[in-house]
């Protein structure tokens, strides 16, 4: 039986100067690249496909299958192929790729080289959100070191394979996490999603065959190549193979990153995290970011794999487990997320552009106690006009917190009307409201003293 936690991607994060090539190489870094270069690109693809790795950016599409969608090379019309890494981590609650790239950027870089080799791409891009300065420094330095060591550039490790890799910083737009919007942004345009088909595998970056994968997916590839497909498939559940980083945040005693086989439950994770904040109980949580329907304490034993979460009415998403205790007003939480979707809506399609504005207006008056009971049905009707009718998943995601919160907490919405406003005291939810938590100071060491 597999252990409860299985650090692989996180295994070297506590190492001294883990971000440097020397520290990474000392732990066997770039050995997997030699293994891969000793195989044919097709064999590497097969290994990743057989491992059962599914996209770690939320949708869970099998990575190896996605690679297989690239059309076979056409000698008549040779178009370059591209690998683009989606490191635009912006889904509220999601905080796994950023620490990965900060601590061990070479894990991602090695994954990029192996994956590019597997799909026969000669150029790759890491699209990282712009708001993470130090992460961008670390990525650029890692790429520079990899070039200097001959892991990137021409004739990599004497294999005859060439690869150029560019780290590209975004400029603040959640929508660029949507893969076709990301491509438009990478082409120097407004980041708006594209109509599909054609899919990026056929006409992606510069209308060329392109694979776009999440940073954690690509970072998982070296370990799979090194240890084999069976090793990876031996962890997790039957249809959700392997390990993933679970990010716990909010009202638990030890928030942070927990790398575990897929299928672990929130009950187990909260236990590992020392429990919910002292004197409080779990009220609601997101299994995979704000775009995945909320869960409550009824769902503590749902296996956190793709099938288990879906069967319980939500989505595994990015394993962004935001934990809210009984001090938190669900209406306030949902309103804030809705304001986020309104702000981030790219404006391309009407249901999302207009719909998110209407949702905010209705939620605002409900939160203030100015609404009426019929507003709940109005909200659900508005959601019905957005879900499945918007151009991309941003609009769909905007409806998730609303419909799920009305499903589980209808009475709490109504209490705002009876109370003439929010019946909760927001101060009781803060990190410093908890008498058990020490007040924090400004220095980095002390800032985390409540651990």
């Amino acid at each position: 039986m597999t252990d409860t936690l299985t650090p692989v991607l996180t295994a070297n994060w506590a190492d001294d100067r883990a971000w440097t090539l020397s520290a990474y190489a000392e732990q066997g870094g770039y050995d997997a690249l030699d293994v891969a270069l000793g195989m044919s690109p097709e064999e590497v693809q097969t290994t990743v496909k057989d491992s059962g790795l599914r996209g770690r950016g939320g949708a869970g599409f099998p990575t190896g299958v996605k690679w297989g969608f690239l059309p076979p090379p056409d000698p008549e019309n040779p178009k370059p192929r591209y690998l683009v890494v989606n490191a635009d981590e912006s889904e509220p609650g999601t905080c796994k790729d950023i620490p990965l790239m900060m601590a061990s950027p070479h894990t991602l870089v090695e994954g990029v080289i192996i994956s590019s080799y597997a799909i026969r791409a000669e150029r790759a891009f890491i699209y990282v959100r712009g708001e993470v300065l130090h992460v961008i420094r670390r990525l650029r330095a890692a790429v520079r070191e990899a070039y200097e060591a001959g892991h990137l550039g021409t004739d990599i490790h004497g294999s005859g394979y060439d690869l150029e890799l560019v780290v590209h910083a975004g400029a603040g737009a959640y929508i660029c996490g949507e893969e076709t919007a990301l491509l438009d942004s990478l082409e120097g345009r407004r980041g708006q999603p594209r109509l599909r088909p054609p899919f990026p595998a056929v006409a992606g970056l510069y209308a060329s065959p392109t694979v776009i994968n999440n940073a954690e997916s690509i970072a998982s590839v070296p370990a799979i190549v090194k240890n084999g497909a069976d090793w990876f498939a031996g962890m997790g559940t039957e249809k959700s193979a392997g390990f993933g980083i679970f990010s716990l945040s909010g009202h638990v005693k030890k928030p942070g990153q927990y790398e575990a086989p897929l299928g672990i439950t929130l009950r187990e994770l909260i236990d590992l995290a020392g429990g919910v904040r002292e004197g409080h109980e779990l009220k609601f949580w997101t299994p995979g970011g704000s775009s995945t329907p909320l869960f409550t304490d009824e769902h503590l034993d749902v296996p956190l794999d793709f099938e288990g979460v879906q069967a319980a009415g939500s989505m595994l998403g990015t394993r962004a487990l935001q934990i809210f205790d009984d001090s938190v007003c669900v209406v306030r939480a949902v309103l804030r997320w809705t304001e986020f979707y309104k702000h981030e809506s790219c404006g391309k399609c009407t249901p999302c552009r207009e719909g998110t504005w209407w949702l905010v207006q209705v939620l605002e008056r409900l939160e203030k106690g100015d609404g009426e009971p019929g507003d709940l049905d109005l909200l659900l009707d508005q959601c019905d006009n957005i879900l499945g009718r918007s151009f991309c998943a941003l609009g769909d995601g905007a409806t998730s917190p609303i419909t799920s919160s009305i499903k589980y907490f209808r009475d709490e919405y109504l209490a705002h009307l009876e109370h003439g406003g929010c019946p909760f005291d927001a101060r009781k939810s803060t990190a410093w409201a908890d008498p058990v938590v020490e007040p924090v100071e400004t220095t980095p060491e002390e800032a985390v003293a409540h651990d």
Partner: protein, 248 residues
Amino acid sequence: MSLAPETYDELREIAGRYPQARSGLLPMLHLVQSVEGRVTPEGIEACASVLGLTAAEVSGVATFYTMYKRHPVGTHHVGVCTNTLCAVMGGDEIFACLREKLEVGNDETTADGKITLEHIECNAACDYAPVVMVNWEFFDNQTPESASQLVDDLREGREVVASRGAKITSWREAERVLAGFEDGLVDEGSAAGPASVVGLELARERGWAAPGDTRGSVEVPQQMPEAVEEADTSRAESETIAEEASDD
């Protein structure tokens, strides 16, 4: 005033990193901000001329992204996360405190030109909530008091070091890094903050690892013998239960 020839050279250098030059536009606009302190009409013209686009096309891109500013930004950009989780954990209180203290509204700059305050969306550091960003560097687990001290230090020009990152330079210098020019600060700061390794440390304590990985369990016996024993016992128990269950 048009941009200096050196800036044009750097804009061309950025465009040259890509198979198609227009891909360089986002980093080019970051460079414009580092030189001009905002996206100026001259900066837009410069990008347009390097890429063979119209000024309207470049403006259309510049206005889409939140990080590009059309008004002058202060020496430092202070962003307070007020997306749901950080807001609930205290981000709203921190933002209100800084607004009052600095006497500015959202996306406004203090009279002395030192600080631009903005409430920002989720910055992927939820395990350190509430989070404040200075020039896009992480300041973790903030309180109204710590954030207040932070902006005092910034205004007084005292040395300020990110929780996970380097010592603070300025918003303009940060924008230059985003444009793709290294500043030599990569080796400052730690690999990971405490919350990032909380699962790793727990796994080491309890002797948990991925199959075939001996790395985690090596140090354990010296460090936490009781925890290991406890973990082994509980694991043995759960394995027994699992075996019993599979017998059914």
